[in-house]
Amino acid sequence: MLDKSFIGFETGARSVGVEAGQLKFFAKATNETNPIYFDEEAARAAGHPALPAPPTFLFCLGTMAPGDENVLGKLGVNIGRVLHGEQQFTYLKPIYAGDTITLKTRISDIYDKRGGALDFIVQDTDATNQDGEKVGISRTVIVVRNG
C-alpha cells in the first residue's frame, strides 16, 4: 500500500515548449488525416495562428516537461507495475505550436482496492500558457499492481 500522506503533495512548476515538429510527429504516429494538425498552411486557413495541439497532447506535455520531481518515483512505484486507469481533460483555451506551457501537478487522492492488491493514484495537472492564461486541466488516475 502506498503512503497516503502524499495526498495533497504538489510538484513544482514545470515548463515545456510546444514544438511544431513534435506535433507533426504526433500526427504521424496517430495516423492523423486532418491537415490542420500537421500542415501550417491548412491550420492558418482554418483560422489558427499555428498548428493546434490535438486534444490528448496536453497529457504528452506532462510526460515531456523536464523536472526531477517524478511523482511515481517519490511514491516508490515501479513503472513496470503501473497501468493507466482513467484520464480526463478540461479545456479552457487552445494550445498552439510556439506556446510555452507551465504545468503544476498535485496528488488529489490515493486509495486502494481488493485488499491492497491495487493502489490508485489520482493526479490533477493545471496547465497555463506563456500569457498566464489557464489552458486546461488534466486528471490522471494511475493503477499500481501490487504482488
Binding site: Q22, F25, F26, K28, A29, T30, N31, E32, N34, A46, P52, P54, P55, T56, F59, C60, L61, T63, M64, I79, G80, R81, V82, L83, H84, G85, E86, Q87, Q88, F89, T90, Y91, P94, R139
Partner: protein, 136 residues
C-alpha cells in the same frame, strides 16, 4: 451542425484506426514522450509478467479524440474523459464510437453529452467514457 440539428440517440460516424503494429508503438513512444518500455520492449514486459508489449492507453484515447474532432472543431470540446477498461493488444484495430445521450445548457451555453467507447476488432471493450461538446 447546430445544437438544434442534433438529437439524443444520434450516432457519430465510427472511426477505425489502422492496426496497431509494433512500429506504430515505437512511433507513438517517441511522438508522445511516453517512454515506458512496457510498450516497446518485450523483454521488459515479460519481466513484469506480461506475455507481450501492449498499446499505450493514450494512443487509443488519441483515436477517440479523432472521433470527436472529425465531428466538431476541437475548440467545441469542453470536457471529456475515459476509463481504460482493458489493455489493447499489439495488432488490434481500434473502433471508436460515439452517441449523443443528453442535451443541456450550462451557463447559457448549449452542450451535448456523448457516450464514447473504443473496442478492438476482436470485440474487446477497451475504453469507456463521455464527452461534453458545446454546439452553436
Amino acid at each position: 451542425m447546430t445544437y438544434d440539428d442534433v438529437k439524443v440517440g444520434d450516432e457519430l460516424a465510427t472511426h477505425v484506426s489502422a492496426p496497431i503494429s509494433r512500429h506504430v508503438l515505437a512511433l507513438y513512444c517517441g511522438a508522445s514522450g511516453d517512454h515506458n518500455p512496457m510498450h516497446v520492449d518485450i523483454d521488459f514486459a515479460r519481466k513484469f509478467g506480461m506475455p507481450d508489449v501492449f498499446a499505450h492507453s493514450m494512443l487509443s484515447m488519441a483515436f477517440l479524440a479523432q472521433l470527436l474532432t472529425q465531428w466538431v472543431p476541437q475548440d467545441r470540446i469542453r470536457h471529456w474523459g475515459v476509463r481504460f477498461v482493458a489493455i489493447t493488444p499489439v495488432g488490434a484495430q481500434v473502433a471508436c464510437t460515439g452517441r449523443v445521450v443528453e442535451k443541456f445548457e450550462v451557463e447559457g451555453e448549449k452542450c451535448v453529452r456523448l457516450d464514447i467507447n473504443a473496442r478492438t476488432d476482436a470485440g474487446l471493450h477497451t475504453l469507456a467514457g463521455d464527452a461534453v461538446i458545446a454546439l452553436p
